[in-house]
């Protein structure tokens, strides 16, 4: 498993262009055959647009082999349900898996 620590990109992650830049920056370091997990620790806020852009590109590149680590980040928890129902694709599946795991962990 590979881990992407989002704090590498800053602690406030805003805008679609910045999300795309973050993906373009991390892509050369990723091994496509190994699943990747995303760590939200030490990030203050993520906007839905940044997360959407980053996740959409990452999910496509990794062929869906992406997992979101449990987080208590309020902005991430607010964005995930909308991203999870916005469409039927790899991102929605990734988000729904993550929300289910976090729900199971909290009960």
């Amino acid at each position: 498993m590979q881990t992407i620590q989002l704090k590498k990109f800053g602690n406030v992650l805003v805008s679609r262009p910045a999300g795309l830049e973050a993906f373009n920056g991390i892509r050369p370091t990723l091994e496509q055959s190994t699943p990747v997990e995303i760590d939200f620790d030490d990030v203050l806020a993520v906007t839905p647009s940044w997360l959407d852009e980053f996740l959409t590109n990452l999910a496509e590149y990794m062929d869906g082999k992406v997992e979101l680590l449990p987080t208590k980040n309020a902005s991430v928890l607010a964005a995930l349900p909308v991203l999870g129902m916005a469409r039927e694709d790899a991102v929605a599946e990734i988000v729904q898996r993550a929300l289910k795991r976090m729900e199971e962990k909290s009960t």
Binding site: L44, D52, D89
Partner: protein
């Protein structure tokens, strides 16, 4: 702004995270939907007073109705456009898979002590500071572009 919010008395890390996300998304929308289409003044107005608990963002772009009319040409009023923008997964930049940002903003404002007034054209979205439902209506005063006041 996030750093200042964190240092402010009575504002939790959770609130800071949500406020930063709301302001960031509204401000980013102004740029994303108006690039190369500014009416006169490019860019956005952004100001905040943490002591008075408000954040203001405004742009003189095309406005929500003009943006969404590309994918929803049946929109007849600014209020209708705001309703679509804040409640439906639709983007003025279709077929790109976008258009969920304002839904997240609404969800945050409806479920936390964050208020939002968002105006575009003659349309207005009001979400009370104390958690409550969104009201969308029409005003007498036209706003060219968008104008948002976030209270907390």
């Amino acid at each position: 702004m996030g750093g200042l919010l964190l240092q402010s008395e009575g504002i939790s890390e959770e609130m800071t995270s949500l406020l930063t996300s709301v302001a960031g998304e509204v401000g980013d929308n102004s740029f994303m939907h108006n690039v190369a289409n500014w009416q006169d003044v490019p860019g956005i107005f952004f100001a905040y007073d943490i002591g008075k608990r408000f954040i203001v963002l405004a742009d003189r772009g095309q406005g929500v109705r003009a943006t969404l009319s590309r994918v929803r040409p049946d929109l007849k009023t600014d209020a209708e456009a705001l309703k679509v923008g804040f409640t439906e997964i639709v983007s003025g930049r279709a077929p790109e898979k976008r258009g969920n940002g304002l839904k997240v903003v609404r969800g945050i404002a409806e479920s936390s002590p964050i208020g939002l007034q968002f105006r575009s054209g003659l349309g207005v979205v009001q979400i009370p500071r104390q958690p409550g439902p969104t009201e969308i209506g029409t005003t007498a005063e036209n706003v060219r572009g968008t104008y948002a006041v976030i209270t907390f």
